[in-house]
């Protein structure tokens, strides 16, 4: 049970929970509980690695009283984005926050529009005006380079404003959340099963991670045990999604420097994996597999055979790519010492996934938490310490070989699993729960609250990219602007996941 505190006590509570940064901030989000007479609430979840869980507190605001509180960003730097989002969505104002610009809602929304409050209709089409100034550096000889939201390549939309001192990037301000679709509001009032197609479509690349976190949270509310076969299949799907993404990424990072043979080889390998995914799930993004209570389709022994075969081919290809990278000196020249994130920065920003692990911060939900069948797979996070593009590339290659091994073990577990049941029937009850899974980009956290009819009252999605985006503007500082695509690709952060 989470402790409830008054807004005045938030700073002290945050300081105590974070324990000097030992417990990274997992998520911070608002919820409108005025209907039950509680008020507006901010939930703060911190990760407690030694207990393999998350814990925290909730701050209750009287809707008729002051909606201000002391910003905790100075104590917990990772809170910066969350506090801005809560202000956009609920109108709770963090006093003393270093950057109180909007985050999610752009210029066409009026100032006092708080979409996640319950008195706002899901399809409220209010138009207005608000200020959203992009930050720039001023000084003699400095100039700006605006990029986006529509980019030159086939990528997602975001606006980047570079303040340049010659070729060097002095400062980068990223304006994101262009693809904000109001998903958290859209699922309110739906049953988890009805909401599932939407949750699956938060992000294409992280379909499994999002669905799995969501289903874990729902299953926690209902307190059911998922059949063992389903747990193994879910873990296997997650590793397939990771392999697909990592292979795609190591084939895409070379595109940042125009290293064509590697791009081409990566593209071929990824296509093999996408086709495998389609054979497994009926969809190239593994959609239609995970459902609340289990999985929708079995992975038959014929499919296991096919997975084995494709994994062998892809593993060979990845090895070739690793050799290619290693031997190509001019490529190494570009990726080493480029886009560095220091270990302390990674910890301060509570970074997750590849971004964290490449900076020597061994954050990996597969070992930090106990879910799926990861406990049986004898898994250790793979880390590098340099924190540059090269390190992020090497972490992916290292993780790929770990994942190939895991897939082998998972297929063995699946073949030895006598239980044939794929899912249990869910009877939804009132309550709340959280779920966590390690996507290809890092830890993916979701919070689900169901009302008395078993319908969603609040869904909060904190994808891995949300935690890592703030690190990108820091990583690029001092590097030259032609290296930006390379640095950006080395993080490979989703926009769809964070924008929701």
């Amino acid at each position: 049970m989470m402790t409830t505190i008054m807004p005045e006590a938030i700073l002290m509570a945050a300081e105590k929970m974070s324990a000097g940064g030992k417990h990274p901030l997992t998520a911070m989000f608002g919820r409108d509980e005025t209907a039950t007479g509680v008020g507006y609430v901010i939930y703060c979840y911190f990760e407690i690695p030694e207990e393999k869980t998350v814990d925290g507190f909730k701050v209750v605001f009287n809707p008729n009283g002051s909606l201000e509180y002391d910003s905790i960003t100075h104590v917990v730097p990772a809170a910066a984005w969350y506090e801005r989002e809560i202000k956009d969505m609920f109108g709770l104002v963090p006093k003393g926050h270093p950057d109180l610009r909007p985050l999610v809602l752009h210029e066409t929304f009026p100032e006092d529009f708080y979409p996640l409050r319950k008195n706002v209709k899901v399809n409220a089409k209010v138009r207005g005006e608000r200020q959203f100034k992009v930050r720039t550096a001023k000084g003699e000889g400095l100039f700006e380079v605006p990029v986006g939201p529509i980019h030159a390549g086939i990528i997602e939309p975001g606006h980047f404003r570079f303040s340049q001192a010659g070729e060097a990037m002095l400062q980068l301000d990223a304006k994101l959340f262009y693809t904000h679709r109001g998903i958290e509001k859209a699922v309110e009032g739906k049953t988890p099963y009805e909401a599932l197609p939407i949750v699956e479509r938060i992000c294409g690349a992280c379909s499994i991670a999002n669905t799995w976190s969501f289903c874990q949270a729902v299953e926690k509310v209902v307190s059911v045990q998922v059949p063992r076969r389903a747990e193994i299949i879910r873990t296997l799907l997650m590793e397939l999604e990771r392999i697909t993404n990592h292979v795609g990424d190591i084939g895409n990072i070379p595109a940042g420097v125009g290293f064509n043979p590697a791009i081409s080889l990566g593209g071929r390998l990824k296509e093999k994996l996408m086709r495998l995914n389609e054979a497994v799930a009926g969809n190239r993004f593994l959609r239609g597999m995970i459902i609340p209570g289990g999985v929708a389709q079995n992975i038959t022994s014929e499919l296991c055979e096919r997975i084995h075969q494709v994994m062998d081919e892809v593993a060979d290809g990845v090895e070739d790519m690793a050799t290619m990278f290693h031997e190509q000196e001019n490529f190494q020249n570009r990726i080493q010492t480029t886009g560095i994130v220091r270990n302390q920065t990674a910890m301060d920003l509570a970074m997750v996934g590849v971004g964290a692990r490449a900076s020597g911060y061994a954050h990996d939900s597969r070992s930090d938490f106990s879910y799926g069948v990861y406990d049986e797979l004898d898994f250790k996070p793979y880390t590098k310490t340099m924190g540059d593009v090269a390190a992020r590339l090497l972490v992916r290659i290292g993780e790929l070989s770990a994942s190939f091994e895991m897939v082998d073990k998972l297929i063995e577990l699946l073949n030895n699993c006598g239980e044939q049941e794929l899912s249990v029937v869910m009877e939804y009850v009132e309550g709340s729960g959280w779920g966590i899974s390690e996507s290809a980009r890092g830890s993916n956290f979701q919070y689900v609250a169901l009302d008395g009819d078993g319908r969603i009252d609040r869904l909060f999605v904190r994808s891995a990219s949300y935690a890592n985006w703030p690190a990108l503007p820091i990583a690029v500082q001092g590097d030259i602007i032609p290296d930006f695509p390379l640095i950006n690709k080395s993080f490979e952060l989703c926009y769809a996941c964070i924008d929701r």
């Binding site: 209010v126 009805e194 479509r201 294409g204 239609g288 989703c494």
Partner: protein, 246 residues
């Protein structure tokens, strides 16, 4: 350098002919029949209101359909007799609004008269369509062989390829990009969000399908459409452009 060359020559040619067929589990268009009670059940579970029933007839609005398979699932649960719905294991063909679907087959047979320059615009997608669009350039699909190129600016493009449901935050970008295209111009709504706009329902942050903001010439069903389906649609678009040039 030589080692890289050596590695390149190790691979055989990867480029394939375009085929619409897919694996056994692939959820393509719906076929088959069922009685009206069962069909009503199918319509009720459709998350995007794409399944329409009148009596014992049904039609699926493929602009909206996200190919989740819930109608087929509901039918399998309900139908006791043999009549039931199932998925075809191939892609839905692009939906053209000006000319009919027969254009497609001809285009494929005939060598293209001109090339097509395309500007991609993510108007609020989940990135699945975007990844598939990127995949068209891999050696397996090798889009360039058809004379189709992705360009960096709408000013260089014949066609805007829109993915995603148009969000409030991107509405202006879509309008401005459309205006920046030189005449004659085409717009393709690629995937269930851009074509049908029902994927996430109607929310405060969503404007809707692409045709709510700009005129759309061709729709590509799928969630996401596979690269093969997108290539078919691009070839059809190239043909439409040829017509517009006359």
């Amino acid at each position: 350098m030589f080692k890289v060359l050596e590695r390149i020559f190790k691979d055989k040619l990867a480029t394939e002919n375009i085929s619409l067929s897919a694996s056994d589990r692939y959820r393509g268009p719906i076929e088959g029949s069922a009685n009206s009670d069962v069909l009503k059940e199918c319509a009720a579970v459709c998350p995007v209101k794409a399944f329409n029933v009148s009596g014992d007839k049904y039609n699926v609005d493929y602009k909206k359909c996200i190919f989740c398979g819930r109608c087929v699932e509901a039918c399998a649960k309900k139908a006791i007799d043999e009549a039931s719905l199932r998925h075809k294991h191939e892609d839905a063909l692009p939906v053209l609004i000006e000319s009919g679907q027969e254009v497609l087959q001809e285009v494929l047979k005939e060598k293209l008269g001109r090339s097509l320059h395309v500007r991609h615009l993510d108007a609020g997608s989940c990135n699945a369509c975007d990844f598939e669009m990127g995949a068209m350039s891999n050696p397996v699909y090798d889009l360039h062989r058809y004379g189709v190129h992705f360009v960096a600016s709408p000013r260089h493009a014949d066609m805007l390829m829109v993915t995603g449901v148009v969000t409030r935050n991107l509405e202006q970008a879509l309008k401005m990009s459309y205006e920046a295209l030189p005449e004659p111009k085409l717009v393709m709504a690629c995937g269930a969000c851009a074509a049908g706009g029902e994927t996430y329902g109607d929310t405060y942050a969503v404007v809707g399908a692409a045709d709510k903001v700009v005129p759309v010439d061709i729709y590509v069903p799928g969630c996401p459409p596979r690269p093969t389906a997108m290539i078919m649609a691009l070839l059809a678009a190239a043909d439409m452009l040829k017509e517009k040039m006359k």
